[in-house]
Point group: C2
Chain length 199, copies 2
DNA sequence: GCGGAAAAAGCACGACCGTTCTATGAATGG
DNA sequence: CCATTCATAGAACGGTCGTGCTTTTTCCGC
């Protein structure tokens, strides 16, 4: 039962990369099989349906994201440094070579926002966890005294995510060379505002 | 040459609504024809290719957006009221019944960000115009003395767009009932920061 | 190394895709 | 009112899609 698990993992790795370019809907079983040098039916046997493939792709991407972005940030000091690390980590994540087509979650969000089903549920849960993670980091920064006591940490997480979306839009669609600088400036303003008491 | 133009327009109207739900790729000629009670080939004759259909859908959506959002805002007083009107107009636009599936530009941005071609070019131009419009409104607010003199108006437009993207994400994907309140709070913070000199 | 189990391939299916060609109906200008 | 153009319908094409079914190949414990 080992060989199977191995290719299963290899399939998901390639699928995540491919899906970042063509989206979850555009990810075809035939195309994925060809990219891997497998037969269509051989690959299909690993997943009972395309929906299941999409779900597992999202789960694999979430696991990768946690390992690449969240875990490193948890190694940073509590408070503002960790908040900053989460933001920097996301910027790095979006630049990662494994995501040639930009953040897979952003792409999936647009595709699935009106498509009820397991794939959407998986994505929403993943995003909720990520937003909770951001809010929790901000909450710790409040406890540590870096951010003001009355800060709405959920609002802060929401705003931080918006900055990330703005960055993605500016970089991937508009090809704005200043995208990263703009995102950093926007986030700095957010952090500055969070520091000052009685905003 | 009148009957043709009429149905042509009717097709685009339905196509915009449909595309907001299923995306530009998901918009199939057969499905669109069925929705309109036309034959597939009869509809196809209006556009020489699917790409051309996508381009015209984007152009129709842009025209609708200009009429529904930009033009009303231009009727508002120069300066901050107009800036606010553009933001409010966008929130209304996103809530419009014609866009059952959320803002078509947001959906298209994710689909086309790595798909070179006429459709992408059309979308990018549309978005560039919109960002220029936002920046120009902010510029006028500077001239009117509502915003500080040193304000980076392109950055302001970028940040404003990011707030809109954050709103779209929170509302359409996360189904957050507080989405609009969060967006308004974020935009208010942006405006407040733009007002205060030497941020 | 052999036998059973797991993995992959091969093949075929029905459905839908964009597109083309041809024919027929309706609308329009003189 | 007629002739011509234009709008639409119909049928068919090659292709790809997701998904089953059957067979062959590969792996792994004994």
């Amino acid at each position: 039962m080992r060989k199977g698990e191995l290719t299963h993992q290899a399939i998901l790795e390639t699928a995540v990369r491919l899906a970042s370019r063509v989206g979850l809907q555009g990810l075809s079983i035939g195309g994925l099989a060809e990219e891997l040098g497998l037969s269509k039916s051989g690959l299909f046997a690993h997943f009972k349906s395309k929906t299941e493939l999409q779900v597992q792709v999202l789960e694999a991407a979430t696991a990768l994201f946690t390992e690449r972005v969240v875990r490193p940030a948890l190694g940073r000091p509590r408070g503002e440094p960790r908040v900053q690390a989460l933001f920097d980590g996301w910027l790095t994540w979006d630049r990662d070579k494994i995501l040639e087509g930009g953040c897979i979650f952003v792409a999936a969000a647009a595709e699935l926002d009106d498509a009820p089903g397991p794939a959407r549920d998986t994505l929403v849960q993943s995003q909720r966890d990520w937003l909770d993670c951001l809010a929790q980091a901000a909450r710790i920064a409040v406890v540590e005294g870096h951010f003001r006591k009355a800060l709405d940490v959920e609002q802060f997480a929401h705003d931080q995510y918006a900055v990330m979306l703005g960055f993605h839009h500016a970089k991937r669609l508009m090809r704005d060379p200043q995208a990263e600088a703009r995102a950093r400036r926007a986030f700095d303003a957010l952090v500055t505002a969070a520091r000052t008491p009685t905003s």
